[in-house]
């Protein structure tokens, strides 16, 4: 499989085989250090929107492989402030770097940047649309903890309407015959087009606002934050913030080997009392960003196969 010069824009662009190949490569990256694999390569990080984990783990991944990083994390100090188009920004940056990582609040921005740039572009999140590297590290985390991706009972909880990670995760997992439990308030249910798409693939889906009604069945519980920044109406946000608060009392109602994941940052949806239980997988999940991003960078730069 050859990913050289491929863009990483949307989970829809990946077949099951592509996904498994990337995860296999990530495992290799985690086992072996390669401090000079990307020597003389430069990665540009164009972060138009705030990010902690994604940006830092991309930078750490690049630097651990001997590469260099340029870019910005605040578009207010760039020519974008002067009205430069994204197209022009991408055209310019491709002259300076071998690889571009972009996060932007407008949906489809990464696809456009990839069309403008002859260098590979990795989407670090485009609005509520896609965040493929998060999805791949989520899959990597699941595979690592469960030794398989197949036939799992996966609960996804929180804001299923606006949360891009849950949309991409559901689509990506649909290659592996999961049974889904979508747990959310009515107003934040998984959009109907995703439900239709998943059901057309023969996936079993249960929807409920009540976690405890399904908790005993779950192998994985993926918790998301109710994201204030995605709500068009702040009053609407006030209604739903804090609607789910998981704490150590949950452990009585779940399987012994249930793993709880969260893309982080969390607000109050997972209490610290769960952190030291064997169920907590979210910090390991964040750490898995490094091998997965190392694998993606090295693959699109054609440094490994």
């Amino acid at each position: 499989m050859n990913f050289k010069n491929h863009d990483i824009i949307s989970i829809y662009d990946f077949s099951k085989e592509d996904i498994l190949y990337i995860l296999k490569t990530a495992k290799k990256m985690e086992k072996r250090s390669n401090p000079s694999l990307l020597k003389n390569n430069i990665m540009a990080t164009l972060f138009f929107e705030p990010s902690t984990r994604t940006r830092l783990s991309f930078i750490a991944a690049m630097e651990q492989l001997g590469g260099k990083v340029t870019g910005f994390a605040n578009s207010k100090i760039t020519s974008i402030k002067k009205g430069e188009t994204l197209w022009d920004t991408a055209k310019m940056v491709e002259q300076y770097a071998d690889l571009i990582v972009i996060r932007h609040h407008l949906e489809g921005s990464a696809r456009l940047a990839a069309e403008a740039s002859s260098k590979p572009v990795i989407n670090g999140g485009d609005g509520s649309n896609q965040h493929p590297t998060q999805t791949l590290l989520d899959l990597y985390t699941i595979q690592k903890s469960k030794d398989t991706l197949n036939n799992l009972h996966v609960g996804i909880l929180g804001d299923l309407k606006y949360g891009r990670t849950v949309h991409s995760l559901a689509i990506a997992l649909s290659h592996f015959n999961p049974i889904f439990y979508f747990i959310s308030p009515d107003a934040l249910k998984m959009p109907r087009n995703y439900i239709t798409e998943l059901r057309e693939k023969g996936i079993r889906i249960y929807e409920t606002p009540n976690l405890l009604s399904v908790s005993k069945k779950l192998d994985i519980l993926y918790v998301t934050r109710i994201q204030q920044e995605r709500f068009p109406d702040p009053l609407e946000y006030e209604k739903y913030k804090g609607v789910y608060r998981l704490d150590s009392s949950l452990t009585k109602y779940v399987k012994k080997d249930l793993k709880i994941m969260h893309p982080l940052p969390r607000i109050d949806e997972i209490d610290k009392s769960l952190d030291n239980t064997p169920h907590a997988l979210y910090f390991e999940q964040a750490a898995n960003g490094i091998p997965v991003r190392k694998a993606l960078i090295s693959l699109v730069l054609g440094k490994i196969r």
């Binding site: 949307s10 829809y12 188009t85 994204l86 197209w87 932007h104 609040h105 407008l106 949906e107 489809g108 921005s109 696809r111 456009l112 485009d126 609005g127 509520s128 649309n129 896609q130 087009n193």
Partner: protein, 157 residues
Amino acid sequence: MSKSKSINKELSVAAIKEGTVIDHIPADASFKVAAILKLRKDPNMVSIATNLNSKSLGKKGIVKVSNKNLTEEEVNKIAVVAPNATVNIIKDYKVKEKIKVNLQKVIENVIRCSNPVCITNHESISTIFNVEKENPLQVRCHYCERVMGKEDIKLIG
């Protein structure tokens, strides 16, 4: 009455000598067809008719453009709003060629994305939609990946 006579009768409403007649447009879509083909700015004689009686559709629309033979590419663009339209190329008052409208798999620069935070609504680039289902029409934005049904589809222009 034979089919050819019926066409002649309709065409005779305002027969054109040379050009294109688009028939069997849904009654509410004549102006949309004109918009897709950018006929508002066309220097040729253009007739836009709507709510004409039709045996097959009940009511229908017709658009006629004199002195202009629409290309297949242009014709296919109108499939988004008039999937069953027939396009007659007219020469010397006679139908020289009939083209059936064909919905393409990829629709370029016809539809506006209904997602206000889609990049296509913020940078001057062509929209691209991939057709996922034909009946009822369902398209997906190539950029923001938003899926739109027939009721969400708004045209550019």
